[in-house]
């Protein structure tokens, strides 16, 4: 078996060639229908490319779910200044591990998406910002990019179209906050990766002060198929408001964790029970974090009727985020895991905003105290209060991202906190 994460319910538009070594070469990628989207884009012109992507209803896969075609249409039409496309390959949201797979198995899929995206927004240069830790995947992408230049798929006069499209790989140096779009721009420019106040929005003033669009790896990987087959084709999967397929990164206490590509709207319990082979050791499900560590935690009951599309998860009390499904069984220690998340956000806060810098640090200290059995019931109120002060008050949403799991876990798993506070009892071991 070449790639072990397979299930018959998958619809593999992006992940079909994972584990398929020939897909890494230009020839192999072409033989699998690759670079036809780029050729078609250059043929139909940039406005129609944007229209096709709008029609498809593709939404950003980096977490916010903003419609990609619409984002592209915000770019100024005049070409008096350079435009930039940035590809966000900084993947570091705890629970998320799809972009690295896309890069290392299908580097040309990403490059084709970047080339089409750059063309569509009138950019002649795309920077791919890769998180520093991705050395191995980056080497694969580097080789693929050199091959793409050799084959005139990138560089001057791409495929004889008269259009110049450059792609440069830019490697970060370890900072979660560089995944935030304006933090990424500052980092690319050689600054501390501190997010910028918006407005101005990147489409007006972005990287190097120029009009800029930023998209996630998975978003750009979906573009070649859409341009090649048309926007309507993509809508045959998913729901009306969340069309297409999505890579679901499942981790934690399931028998078969991994990346599974499914149509949006897929039932959460079917993902856990069927696609991922159920909760490990036949244990009972306790909780799920459906979208990466920044979204509210869900109880097993909330999961039961949840469908995995942007709207469906909101209805069940959380958010789809980047579809990073973290599964916790009955052995999970919620307080410990929330404390670990708090530590992460405190470590990664860039420190510009007081509610975030102080809030993440204090939340961590209080949670550590509770975990050590030295907490009080008032501490829970203090945590909720800190959470309120951290929400909607800062430059970027890293601050809100800790408030969400803290608040939701206290509301939904208060008993576990109280067991520790009143009796020093830990509920779980993991």
């Amino acid at each position: 078996m070449a790639y072990p994460y397979r299930h018959e319910k998958e619809v593999r538009l992006l992940s079909e060639h994972f584990g398929d070594l020939e897909a890494r070469t230009v020839e192999g990628w072409k033989a699998r229908g690759g670079y036809e989207g780029l050729a078609r884009a250059l043929e139909i012109g940039r406005e129609r490319v944007v229209e096709e992507v709008k029609t498809s209803g593709l939404r950003g896969r980096g977490g916010a779910g903003f419609p990609t075609g619409l984002k592209w249409s915000f770019m100024p039409k005049d070409q008096t200044r350079p435009h930039y496309l940035l590809c966000n390959a900084d993947e570091s949201e705890p629970g998320t591990f799809k972009d690295r797979e896309l890069i290392r198995w299908t580097p040309h899929q990403l490059l084709e998406g970047c080339l089409i995206g750059a063309y569509a927004i009138g950019a002649s240069h795309c920077y791919i910002y890769l998180r520093g830790e991705f050395f191995e995947a980056t080497q694969v992408l580097a080789r693929a990019l050199e091959d793409a230049y050799d084959a005139n798929l990138a560089g001057k006069d791409v495929l004889g179209s008269g259009v110049d499209l450059d792609v440069t790989l830019h490697v970060g140096a370890g900072a979660y906050i560089c995944g935030e779009e304006t933090g990424l721009m500052n980092s690319l420019e050689g600054r501390r990766g501190e997010p910028r106040i918006k407005p101005p929005f990147p489409a007006a003033v972005g990287a190097f002060g120029m009009p800029t669009t930023i998209n996630n790896v998975e978003t750009l990987c979906a573009v070649p198929g859409i341009v090649k087959n048309g926007g309507d084709w993509y809508r045959q999967w998913g729901t009306e408001k969340s069309p297409g397929t999505k890579l679901f990164c499942v981790s934690g206490h399931v028998n078969k964790p991994g990346n599974y590509e499914l149509p949006l709207g897929f039932p959460l319990m079917e993902l856990i029970e069927d696609v991922c082979g159920g909760v490990r050791d036949g244990n009972a499900l306790k909780a799920v974090i459906p979208g990466g560590s920044s979204v509210p935690i869900m109880t097993a009951e909330e999961c039961s009727a949840c469908s995995l599309d942007y709207e469906g998860v909101v209805e069940c009390g959380s958010m789809l985020g980047c579809a990073s499904v973290i599964v916790m069984d009955e052995t999970a220690d919620i307080v410990k895991q929330v404390r670990r998340m708090a530590y992460f956000y405190a470590h990664e806060s860039c420190g510009q905003c007081t509610p975030c810098r102080e809030g993440t640090a204090w939340a961590t200290k209080i949670l550590e105290r509770i975990e050590d059995g030295r907490g009080t019931e008032e501490d829970l109120d203090t945590l909720l209060q800190i959470g309120d002060q951290m929400t909607g008050t800062t430059i970027c949403v890293l601050s809100d991202s800790l408030a969400a799991p803290v608040r939701s876990s206290i509301e939904k798993f208060r008993d576990e906190y109280l067991a520790l506070i009143r009796r020093g009892e830990r509920v779980g071991a993991a």
């Binding site: 570091s92 998180r131 980056t138 694969v140 580097a142 440069t168 979660y176 980092s187 050689g190 560590s293």
Partner: protein, 219 residues
């Protein structure tokens, strides 16, 4: 990796059901040798900068490295944007980024020393002081943590005989805790220099350390 029935496309010594080789998974054969002067300029800023062999006093930006730096410069609209790639290159050569190295980078790019220090210290992957030949970074964030990462970290500390962040007496190992490495489905994920080791259990640790010791100049 020892008794887990289901294997991942990462690499922790054997891949079980997964029938590709380690070189296939890592892509090392496909990538081949990357020349120190940089191949195509588009990819010149993308070399690994955590290597086992370190030369803390080596000159920066000379010979092939100078050539690579020039290629990198050509990809950005200003000198400031070359800062991260230049610091990466400096760490690739010297193994860590000391204040002297920061000053040298500042001079090369025409930036203020204080500015370069401000930026370099923002990023965790720049080693501000020397580390062992193998920097072992164990993810203990939520997905790995749910699956026993704390025990894996403890095992690395025990078997290297080190305290967190300290280097072993033979200079081989430095063990630290890491934040999410984006390999959450393959817990525990451990980054060792430029490579990921995935699906690592406590019991795998001695074998991984033996392998590292037996590899010459591996990055």
């Amino acid at each position: 990796m020892s008794d887990a029935p289901f294997k991942n496309p990462g690499w922790a010594g054997n891949t079980g059901e997964f029938d590709l080789t380690e070189a296939d998974v890592r892509g090392t054969e496909f990538v081949g040798h990357r020349p120190p002067e940089g191949g195509h300029p588009a990819a010149a800023p993308s070399y690994p900068y955590m290597l086992a062999d370190k030369a803390p006093d080596a000159p920066l930006f000379e010979g092939p490295y100078k050539e690579r730096l020039e290629k990198i410069r050509g990809r950005y609209p200003n000198a400031r944007a070359v800062l991260l790639p230049a610091l990466n290159l400096a760490q690739e050569i010297r193994g860590h980024v000391s204040p002297e190295t920061m000053d040298a980078v500042a001079e090369e790019l025409g930036l203020a020393s204080a500015y370069v220090r401000g930026v370099a210290t923002f990023y965790t992957m720049y080693n501000k002081r020397p580390v062992g030949r193998h920097l072992i970074q164990v993810c203990t964030n939520i997905s790995c943590n749910l699956c026993g990462a704390d025990e894996v970290l403890a095992a690395f500390l025990e078997h290297t005989g080190t305290e967190m962040g300290e280097t072993s007496a033979d200079g081989n190992f430095t063990v630290v805790e890491a934040e999410c490495l984006a390999a959450c489905g393959f817990p525990t994920c451990v980054q060792i220099n430029s490579r990921y080791f995935e699906n690592v259990n406590e019991a795998d640790v001695p074998q991984i350390l033996d392998r590292l010791k037996s590899e010459e100049g591996e990055g």
